[in-house]
Amino acid sequence: MAEIVLDSVTKQYPDGAVAVRDVDIEIADGEFIILVGPSGCGKSTTLNMIAGLEDITSGELRIGGERVNERAPKDRDIAMVFQSYALYPHMTVKENMAFPLRLAKVDDATVEKKVRDAAEILDLTQHLDRKPSNLSGGQRQRVAMGRAIVRSPKAFLMDEPLSNLDAKLRVQMRTSVSRLQKQLGTTTVYVTHDQTEAMTLGDRVVVMRGGAVQQIGAPQFLYDNPANLFVAGFIGSPAMNFVPAALEDGTLRSALGDVPLTDRVRGLLEGTEAPREVIMGLRPEHFEDARLVEDHVRSTGATFTNQVDVLESMGSDKFAYFSLSGEQATSAELAELAADAGSADVPGGGVSLVARISATSTAVVGEPAEIWFDADKVQLFDPNNGRNLTYRG
């Protein structure tokens, strides 16, 4: 067990492409940290550098206080779980799990005991003599985990370990990974592109984009205080709504109407060089059917009326989709998020908006509905550099 420190770590390939730029992360002993971001953001490269599977171009990597840049993977005492599981097909489950111990020349009795223990934790005892090809996806995933935990390494590295499982099993395995990590208390670095996994699993989350760290923090903090447009749009499902707006005399003008800035927002904006044109960000849960909002609450926000395009009932709440007239919010960050989600080519003029409203709402598809939103929860972003103007760091 040990802490892992990345000190301005950079990875540049011989062809000049920079995969990871100046990454600083301090991972505490026993911490569960998530690297999250769209594909190509450098998260896997970062993990491979910690593992020793890729060289570090510049910067320093310390595990347990010692510089390990030049050490081979086998001398770093860390275990890795691969996305494809990478089980040895010619060995049984038992041999697969015993392999790291055999290489470490552990005596037979200890190997037997450790493999038994790991198999028990992972519920694999009855499969020990089977070959990986005869196992289900979930079982293979557990064998891969077992191979990592048998030798009690200093740290676990996991490269999208759940992405090959079907949705239901993934949720199930997510909780067991979390439980296992708490039980073992081993420092864990977990790579995923799934923001739900990032939110639910980690003690802290590192959001990456284009090889650079965007923000590091506890999941809830990132959700409430995104440092920029990219983090705001990436964390949260459904994603935050972005509406172009203009700041004029302490009033926010947008397709949602004119809203006076609340004291909190005004306070946060003070001292920042806020441009006139901004992007307003609002989480879906900060909307509500205006008829269900009590009067004294109503005054803290604003309302707008628009036709409901689509209404999805989740049982516990309803998701209402609107198309507002006017220009769509544009910025490099939002374009990248859209490209990652595959929605860049989806046609649809104007601003689309998702509101999570109460299940008791009587809103009807195709009819106009009056929607209230909490003006105090508004986040404002600079469209030029994506910075959150209302960031409370």
């Binding site: 890795m80 494809s84 990478a86 040895y88 097909p89 196992l135 030798r151």
Partner: protein, 281 residues
Amino acid sequence: MAGIGGAVTTGRKARWTVLNVLVVAYALFPVLWIVSLSFKTKETLGDGNFIPRAWTFDNYAAIFSTTEFVRALVNSIGIALIATAVAVVFGTMAAYAIARLDFPGKRLLVGVSLLIAMFPQISLVSPLFEIERGLGLFDTWLGLILPYITFALPLAIYTLSAFFREIPWELEKAAKMDGATPGQAFRRVIAPLAAPGVFTTAILVFIFCWNDFLFAISLTSTESSRTVPVALSFFTGGSQFEDPTGSIAAAAVVITIPIILFVLFFQRRIVAGLTSGAVKG
């Protein structure tokens, strides 16, 4: 409906069976004919009967009583086995490097090895003859093993690198993470998975060396290194007027046996889908 479907299937099956029998008969008939010849007595050799009227083992006894054939058999087995072993070992290493590493000149290396495999062997025979005489390799085992390796290596590299490419690279990374040195990762993870490829290659290379006639006849002159295909061509009867057909037939049958054994022995190890289950498929 089911009846019609069944009829179609049966009809199709019958057609395929007839076709298969025809092809197999066409391919095997010469082999069976030579087997038949090898069991005929001198008097019945030319009678044109497929099944010998008088059976005899004299032809086999005759070839094994001469040092000419026995010695050639030893040469053939020795030379083919050594050449195969060397070609497979070097081929494995080279193919692994080609499949896994990016090094300068990789494309050139692959290109050149392909070129060698396509080079007409006949055009090399005269220079090789001169070179081997100069170096004192003429009419030695080594004198045949070297050219065999040269021509077998490209074949080995090609077959093996295809197999190596099939092995997920992540397995090697996993082995490294599990604490293996590159050597251990190769020996304990990659090599066992590449085994079917290695055996396939071994069979192909062995057959190539075993069947070679051109190099063997050009680069040997005595029993000390002459291989069976060449020895066969030197068979003569007991006297000028004796017909060696029976002996040649017997020898031809004998030299097909090692090939059949070799293939049967290794075929069992060529288990398809050995890598299944390694990664999510």
